[in-house]
Amino acid sequence: MSAVSVEHLVVRHGDLVAVDDVSFTADAGEVLALLGPNGAGKTSTVEVLEGYGRPHAGRVRVLGHDPGTERDRIVGRIGVMLQDGGVYPGIRPPEMLHLLAAMYDDPADPDALLERVGLADRAGATWRQLSGGEQQRLSLAMALVGRPQVAFLDEPTAGVDVRGRQVIRQIVRELADGGCAVVLCTHELDEAEKVADRVVIVDRGKVVATGTLDELRSGTSGEVRFSAVPELDVDALGQHLGADVTEVAPGEYVVADGGHDSHLAAKLTGWLANHDVALGDLRAGRQRLEDVFLLLTADEAEPDVRRAMEPKRRGRRGRRS
């Protein structure tokens, strides 16, 4: 049994469909990142798992229970980090942690936890006197104080400086290594890459891609990506290289299976030189994750980029099969 399972979840806010047929699971000991731009439906999804929102359709389970109707069965076993705190403005960090600790059967030691997130020296400050990064670290400690089996962390490093991010990511990693299932929402690709075992990419309420980092990064194809002037003759180039070439965005090209050919770079630069085209840059690895994320985070104001990318991909696959 997965610690968290979401099957065909639909959440509406009035007329807006915030979550549209989303499915995924998270197991004990893994960090699952819900990755997507703001407004993709990440928080709405997690809110259903935390027992706030009722799904309009679909089925969710946390530790085998329905969070909407069996809240009592899970509240003692989950840890929650809300996107914006959820802390009394006038309370001090140790007071907040001791308060929460009193609510659980077998809590972690609040003072040790405060030390762990680097707030021991801020014990006398109130929440509103803490910096954004300190507030995030306290929120994380709040999610951990009940020794949760499932943790929901919404944008845990938003507004945190580089050192703070490292601390938070390390704690999240240790949390999962200790057997907790971690569901983490983020809009930053970098965050997902650094901390997640598996990634569910969501956009406008729908799942765009799911997989481990390795699967999403390279797939099985070993794609190579390069940039040059737009509208190259990709068919001719593809024949020269012996691999499919796709223009995924104007001036942005992907060579399928190129990673398996050690002479690819030489062949590619040769062909480009013959056609008097300068090579922008050439990168291997990470292609699919970056592709998908680029695609889904493409600015609303540039719909032509999305349109340009989608039919071409489809056409390419059609020809290949």
Binding site: H13, L82, P89, A102, M103, Y104
Partner: protein
């Protein structure tokens, strides 16, 4: 019990740490009591019995005001901001549960009322107050008044944005300070306003607290008015309260 105790301690700590809330719950009532006891400008004669001093009328009124200041204004502002900061939402994911959260809030209001009484009663006695206590009806009136004003406060906090709750709770406090009969006798108000004021929970609470400190049970009309508010307002609050911040 451990969770309830911890929550109650937190509610109290934060209430007593908050300077505005101390001003409201203790500062203003003490100020009004001392000022109007020493400066004889209020038309209190109609309410004074033989041998009474202004403080004999003022002290019960100010104690009733203290109940309203904590149960309505103090509770509304604190809860409104807790809601807008997502505190209530966050506590909703813990094993605390709503009944214990509510019990802690009520407990904190009661403890603050005891502190208010412990400060205001000695001050009034020093000023020459000479009460003849009838404890049972007095406690009944305090319970009903607390329920009515807490219901009103939580209704605001649970439905409005925190800034609106802040403004409205303070505004109502001022309006009811003038119209509630706490320090200004209702008999001084023009007729339509007086009838309106008599139907409010504030005047009923003041009448009953005054009676309770005068060895009396108080007028039946005031009991009915206060009891209706004490049932209706918490019911409305319970039905409309939203735990998540206003979107």
């Amino acid at each position: 019990m451990r969770a309830l105790r911890a929550q109650l301690r937190t509610e109290l700590t934060l209430t007593l740490r908050n300077k505005e809330s101390l001003l409201l719950t203790l500062g203003i009532p003490i100020g009004l009591l001392v000022f109007f006891s020493l400066v004889d400008v209020l038309p209190l004669d109609a309410l004074l019995g033989p041998g009474d001093q202004p403080v004999d009328v003022l002290a019960p009124g100010v104690l009733a005001l203290a109940i309203m200041s904590m149960a309505m204004t103090g509770l509304a502002i604190a809860t409104g901001f807790e809601r807008s900061y997502g505190v209530l939402k966050r506590l909703g994911t813990t094993p605390l549960g709503r009944p214990r959260l509510l019990a802690a809030k009520i407990g904190a209001v009661v403890v603050v009322e005891v502190i208010q009484a412990a400060v205001l009663v000695p001050v009034a006695l020093v000023l020459g107050w000479d009460p003849s206590l009838d404890l049972v009806p007095l406690l009944g009136a305090v319970v009903l008044g607390t329920a009515a004003f807490a219901g009103l406060g939580l209704w605001m906090a649970g439905t409005l944005r925190a800034e609106i709750t802040l403004a409205l709770a303070n505004g109502l406090y001022i309006v009811l300070l003038l119209l509630g009969g706490f320090v200004i006798p209702l008999a001084e108000l023009p007729d339509p306003l007086r009838r309106f004021a008599e139907a409010l929970p504030s005047s009923a609470l003041v009448d009953l607290v005054r009676a309770g400190f005068d060895g009396a049970t108080g007028p039946g009309r005031a009991w009915v008015v206060l009891a209706v508010w004490a049932v209706a307002l918490p019911l409305v609050a319970a039905r409309t309260f939203r735990w998540s911040p206003a979107r």
